[in-house]
């Protein structure tokens, strides 16, 4: 207990609109700049000419075929995938934290990342490296279904039981993953597995970017219209129910949406840590816990953060790539500490 005015930013409605516009502009500017980064120097004008050309607005592009391909086929899908993965993980993180009332919850809480890792690693050692995203997706959803089924066997799938079941599934899947790596990974597949486990968007295609965007278009609206329902969870299930919220329906709907979203993200980008945990907390520290703001702002901040993390991952030690999970943690942890110090909690 103690005194102190609410130390969050006091966002008036016009300031809030300004913040959204500023973040969208920052996102677009970041994306443009990120596409120019890389071994071949591309100018922002070339970036936009190429985009407009492919959208049919500029019939005769002055950009050479090679440079066009670098922008459109190599860098654009990856930049879009990075933004989408960041947005999706941040959204899923906000939702999982609110639903479980657990600040340590992240999108992988119910064993999703360990399940995905097991699925991915199994396919890598079997020599089907191209099918890794499918293995990861199936693995993550299998882990989730198993966790919920165990929770159900324990006498009803309450959040606490689901989390506990998720922890055991996680441990089991991790052990199986380690066993497979230990037993049958060779030098090459070992590096491939390691890079997947730490998260990597290298080689993202338009198919990957498309899957990420479609899953966002499906899941984000479900979460955004549930913002007030999530607010009602602040004081627990009973309080939410007494405000007329259908607690069970909202919880399963949102759990389903975040699991689907996380399943796609983990399939495309691997188990990228930190984003889903820290972006929501950073935004919450700055603007408070009302989900009507928290969700869209986290989505934008997650997208921008992930975009820059991935750009650093592929350019810092060019021509070698870092797994993006290393960058999200290396950059994210100090950034988060700074934010924590700036908005010291009063509780």
């Amino acid at each position: 207990m103690g005194g102190g005015v609410c130390p969050t930013l006091r966002l008036t409605r016009s300031l809030q609109t300004t913040a959204y516009i500023a973040l969208w502009l920052l996102l677009i500017a970041s994306a443009t700049i990120a596409v120019t980064f890389g071994p071949a120097d591309i100018t922002p004008t070339e970036v936009w000419t190429t985009i407009l050309h492919h959208l049919g607005f500029v019939p005769d592009s002055p950009v050479s075929r090679l440079r066009d391909a670098i922008v459109w086929d190599l860098r654009m899908p990856r930049v879009i995938a990075a933004m989408g993965v960041g947005a999706g993980l941040a959204l899923a993180g906000v939702v999982m934290q609110a639903l479980t009332r657990n600040p340590l919850a992240d999108p992988y809480l119910l064993g999703l990342s360990s399940g995905a890792a097991l699925g991915a690693v199994t396919l890598v050692v079997m020599g089907f490296a191209l099918l890794v995203p499918i293995g990861a997706f199936v693995g993550s959803l299998a882990a989730l279904v198993l966790a919920l089924f165990i929770a159900h066997l324990l006498g009803g799938a309450t959040p606490v039981r689901a989390i506990l079941a998720g922890i055991s599934i996680s441990a089991l899947a991790s052990a199986a993953t380690s066993f497979i790596i230990f037993w049958s990974a060779t030098g090459d597949s070992y590096r491939e597995i390691l890079s997947w486990l730490m998260g990597s968007l290298s080689g993202s295609s338009w198919l990957d970017a498309g899957l990420v965007v479609v899953s966002l278009l499906v899941c984000a609206p479900v979460m955004l219209i549930s913002a007030r329902g999530l607010d009602a969870f602040a004081f627990g299930d009973k309080a939410a129910a007494s405000l007329g919220v259908d607690v069970a329906r909202l919880r399963w709907m949102l759990l389903g949406a975040s699991a689907l979203l996380t399943g796609v993200m983990v399939a495309i980008g691997g188990a990228i840590g930190f984003v889903g945990l820290v972006v929501p907390h950073a935004v919450r520290l700055a603007v408070g816990s009302r989900h009507g703001r928290l969700l869209p702002l986290s989505m934008l901040v997650g997208a921008i953060f992930m975009l820059w993390a991935d750009t650093m991952a592929r350019t810092l030690f060019d021509p070698r790539e870092l797994p993006v999970g290393i960058v999200t943690a290396l950059v994210g942890a100090p950034a988060f500490l700074l934010i924590l110090m700036r908005f010291r909690r009063v509780t």
């Binding site: 607010d231 309080a239 405000l243 919450r284 408070g288």
Partner: protein, 259 residues
């Protein structure tokens, strides 16, 4: 039609075990009705059923002539507000954010945010509980009594006709307890129906207009507090020896020991 709450024949069981059996009582409009009884008497369970957190197996929950059990969730939440013993949060919410939660049953899922009317209701509710100056404070930084007043303001922002509170004063110091109970008296005075579970029988004597006593899942007495809390009832229900003494502001219970 302002009748207040009338419940009859309410049965609730959990896991095959009966918690509340054939419970019936009324909580008149414009009055503060206290629900008392020892721990495990079934007060909280009955209250859960009244506010819709629990589905009774039998019985009717009538409020102003309409059956609460037949209403949709939102409709019911627009009529009946609920305040818990103590509800805390880890979330970073300002006091006015918390009070604004009370508008949830009244605003459409698709509405962008609170309208000017809603904002005014939130401010008005805070003023009613004497917390207007705290609107921008973070909820977590308030004292227990202040938090409970904010919860009551949140309930008021729900514009309820029936306010149900489950031991709202249990964790508060005596001054905060008196403030909360005074406030409930004012709300009832303005025409609302107030029902609260309570532990302190002397506070029940002092602040409740109507009293319902529960014991082992049954309603065993109902009436004016001073008429209900007789010495033999205290012995039977609570297992205590006590005398009612006439104090300056009405009767007071002096406890002498256990039976």
């Amino acid at each position: 039609m302002r009748e207040g709450l009338k419940i009859a024949g309410v049965d609730i069981s959990r896991g095959g075990k009966s918690i509340v059996g054939n419970a019936g009582f009324s909580a008149p409009a414009g009055k503060v009705t206290g629900l008392v009884g020892p721990n495990g008497a079934g007060k909280s369970t009955l209250i859960s059923a009244i506010v819709g957190l629990e589905r009774p197996e039998a019985g009717s929950l009538n409020f102003d002539g309409a059956d609460l059990a037949l209403m949709g969730r939102r409709e019911r939440a627009g009529i009946c507000a609920y305040v818990e013993q103590s509800a805390s949060t880890e979330e970073r919410l300002s006091v006015s954010d918390v009070v604004a939660l009370g508008r949830i049953p009244h605003i459409s899922t698709w509405a962008a945010g609170l309208g000017a009317d809603d904002e005014a209701l939130v401010a008005g509710a805070l003023a009613k509980v004497d917390m207007a100056g705290f609107a921008t404070r973070q909820f977590n930084t308030l004292s227990g009594g202040e938090q409970q007043r904010v919860h009551i303001a949140r309930a008021l922002a729900q514009e309820p006709k029936l306010l149900v509170l489950d031991e709202p004063t249990s964790h508060l110091d005596i001054r905060a307890q008196l403030q909360v109970l005074d406030l409930l008296g004012e709300l009832a005075g303005a025409g609302g129906t107030v029902l609260l579970a309570l532990h302190d029988l002397n506070l029940a004597l002092r602040f409740c207009d109507w009293l319902v006593v529960m014991h082992m899942g049954q309603v065993v007495a109902e009436g004016r507090p001073a008429e209900v809390l007789r010495e033999n009832l205290l012995a039977e229900v609570y297992g205590v020896r006590a005398r009612l003494i006439e104090g300056p502001g009405g009767p007071v219970i002096a406890y002498e020991g256990t039976v």
